[in-house]
Symmetry: C2
Subunit: 412 residues, 2 copies
């Protein structure tokens, strides 16, 4: 735990990190996704501050080619190998090198850069992000799986390589800023906020009948469907508590969450003298991205300014783990430790996909995840992970176990 608390102030990798006046060499893994696009928006507004090294995408080949041309990237890599020809055609005459496939994504992450935005979504992001860590420079981390599934292994690798980890998630960026390099013994609590999602005020009966269409209507953020469902179950907050455990120098008991429907306050850090430092911002991922790129400096971001008097009121309520059992299940996995969070994450992906396909009821998402963790415990799959291969094999095993559990459920 506490991987982020190192090298807060020397700013080795970020904006101007490689010498005054020089631009930051930046690689964007997952350039066509939401975080990637927001990153490139900031880069476009500060063209003299950045030099784009490599950009990658999984399958959006035309968008990737357009980004590579626009940013004058040196390298464009598409994850789907069948698209190499299309990428080559789209970039012919541009001078941009092209490559394709999973290994090429890893190679892209290894290109010399001052900062790597690790924004590939899901388990596919793990290997490229580990490769970026090996460089020992700044990692702006948007991929959740590196911490949720591979936390112990990943943070050990960050330390070994002397890399600098800056979280891009809004809650963890908020915690990072509110911690400001404080000593671990000064911190009493880190409280992440949760919007409560679209079902915050729903009864158990209503939740039992909730449909994917209803769950996909998030009140504050526009995100991918997996994350939006996680936000409706509060699993998202559970996963974020696991991430926070690995990022910050506090134990499980010092981590908590509070429901805050306006999504303006993103995290609160309590200190032992009674002080609480909080970070607030209108919901716009360009703020945490700008923090990660420029820290310990600040760069301008074209976001809406917070106007508290116009907002009027910020409200808070305790999360309800009865109506939102995913939060309880995730906390239990965090306490269990070892590979329990990896199993939780894999089982949740299977459960959410099944819910979106209407093969699983909303409240059964957490039930399926809990049953999968129990099943994994029984077969001895909850154990310390020594390396990335351990994590990847547990992830695969957990998906199989979850699919077995899923077969027992009737479609709702």
């Amino acid at each position: 735990m506490g991987a982020v608390a190192q090298r807060l102030r020397d700013g080795s990798g970020g904006l101007n990190g490689n010498g005054a006046g020089q631009s930051c060499r930046l690689t964007v893994l997952g350039a066509t996704g939401s975080i990637g696009q927001s990153t490139l928006d900031l880069v476009a507004r500060n063209p003299e501050a950045f030099e784009v090294v490599a950009v990658t995408a999984q399958c959006h080949v035309q968008e990737l080619a357009e980004i590579a041309r626009r940013t004058q990237a040196k390298l464009a890599v598409i994850g789907d190998e069948t698209m190499l020809g299309a990428l080559r055609d789209a970039l012919s005459g541009s001078g941009v090198r092209v490559a394709a496939g999973a290994d090429a994504l890893v190679d892209a992450a290894r290109e010399p850069a001052d900062c790597v935005m690790a924004a590939i979504v899901g388990a596919a992001g793990i290997r490229p992000t580990f490769a970026a860590v090996e460089q020992g420079r700044r990692i702006a981390l948007a991929n959740k799986e590196c911490l949720v599934s591979a936390g112990d292994v990943f943070t050990a690798e960050v330390k070994r390589c002397g890399a600098e980890l800056l979280p891009v998630d809004s809650e963890h960026s908020a915690a990072f800023q509110a911690l400001a390099g404080a000593d671990a013994d000064a911190i009493e609590k880190i409280v992440l906020t949760a919007s409560g999602g679209p079902f915050r005020t729903w009864s158990m009966d209503q939740l039992a009948a909730a449909t994917p269409e209803q769950a996909l209507k998030h009140p504050n953020w526009s995100m991918g469907s997996k994350v939006t469902i996680d936000s409706a179950t509060l699993m998202n907050k559970g996963l974020e508590l696991i991430e926070a455990f690995h990022l910050f120098p506090v134990g499980v008991d010092a981590l908590d969450c509070v429901v805050h429907p306006q999504s303006i306050v993103h995290c609160l850090v309590s200190y032992k003298d009674g002080s609480v430092l909080a970070q607030l911002a209108p919901p716009d991922m360009r703020t945490p991205i700008a923090v990660a790129l420029a820290w310990p400096r600040r760069m301008a971001a074209p976001t809406e300014k917070l106007d508290l008097a116009r907002l009027g009121s910020l409200t808070f309520e305790a999360p309800d783990e009865v109506r939102f059992p995913a939060l309880r299940v995730a906390k239990a996995a965090l306490r269990r430790g070892e590979t329990a969070p990896a199993v939780l994450n894999a089982a949740n992906e299977i459960a959410v996909a099944a819910f979106l396909q209407k093969r699983l009821a909303f409240l059964d998402i957490a039930r399926l995840v809990e049953e999968t963790i129990d099943a994994a415990e029984k077969v001895g799959a909850i154990a310390p992970a020594r390396c990335l291969e351990d994590i990847l094999s547990i992830d695969a095993a957990a998906r199989r176990l979850a699919a077995e559990q899923l077969a027992r459920y009737d479609a709702p």
Copy 2:
């Protein structure tokens, strides 16, 4: 401006500041007041961390003697010279040195110490606090007049002597923490919160008839009567904006305030990337005092813990400068600069005293202050101050001008 932004991280003067494991030699100027007593409460809870050097009071001689015995202070000084005998009697056989008078207060401030808590209220605190600054160690500043009246001269002296200034006011401590040593060009705004006082929702007609008894009922804080009236007029927030201007590296346009009736959020700092860092705490001065004593570390304080879910809601509204003209008058004095804030402060003291004596109506407090500033401008008394003597003579002149204005008012 910006006196506090220096030496944020080296922590030369505070807790453990004079070497690992050694205690902090602490002098408390104004030991019998509210801030002094809260300071000594924290000291009593951490006896191994502090060594009390000198304690002072203006006239509460028995309380001072009791404090000196309890803390095993080396020196006790009473401001009122007529009380020297009483102090000597009360401390006979204790081994505590005693002294009395204004010069003795200044001498007490010069005693070698790692940290001086400058908590003498009013203009009487100016000379002793300047004397403490000369030592070039940490000043925990609770006295407002050093910054409001003597800001330019005081901050120049802080720089010249290499002293370290830590604000003890809850709003400025909050700003200090939310700034965390940020570069000036990263900061977009510093917003202090105001409770709005007991008359927050009152109409102009009600305000015109407000009595001292009504004004003294502050909703959140228990403070002296002068500060409580300033809180009812919002002059307090105006004075704090002037202090903030001298403490932090921002210009007048970057300073503002917002009404927040719960007094939980004390200050918000907006950065150019859209991030806003805020400090929150239940109203208890031991929190900002602990911050000032221990920074950059944190010390435990026995304060109520913030529970946002129980609190439920934090509300914000724009301050109304029509119903609370003192805020407008103070902002104008800040913009005018030079000795205008010193005149503002002196005139306000006269006006508040007259209001408490029922010689002036509530809404006439700001009017009298504004008229005094205008009168001072006319006689050329708004001018640059070169030294402390300039400030003290302007302060005296402003009090005379305010008294002249006051004579024209009928008692309400």
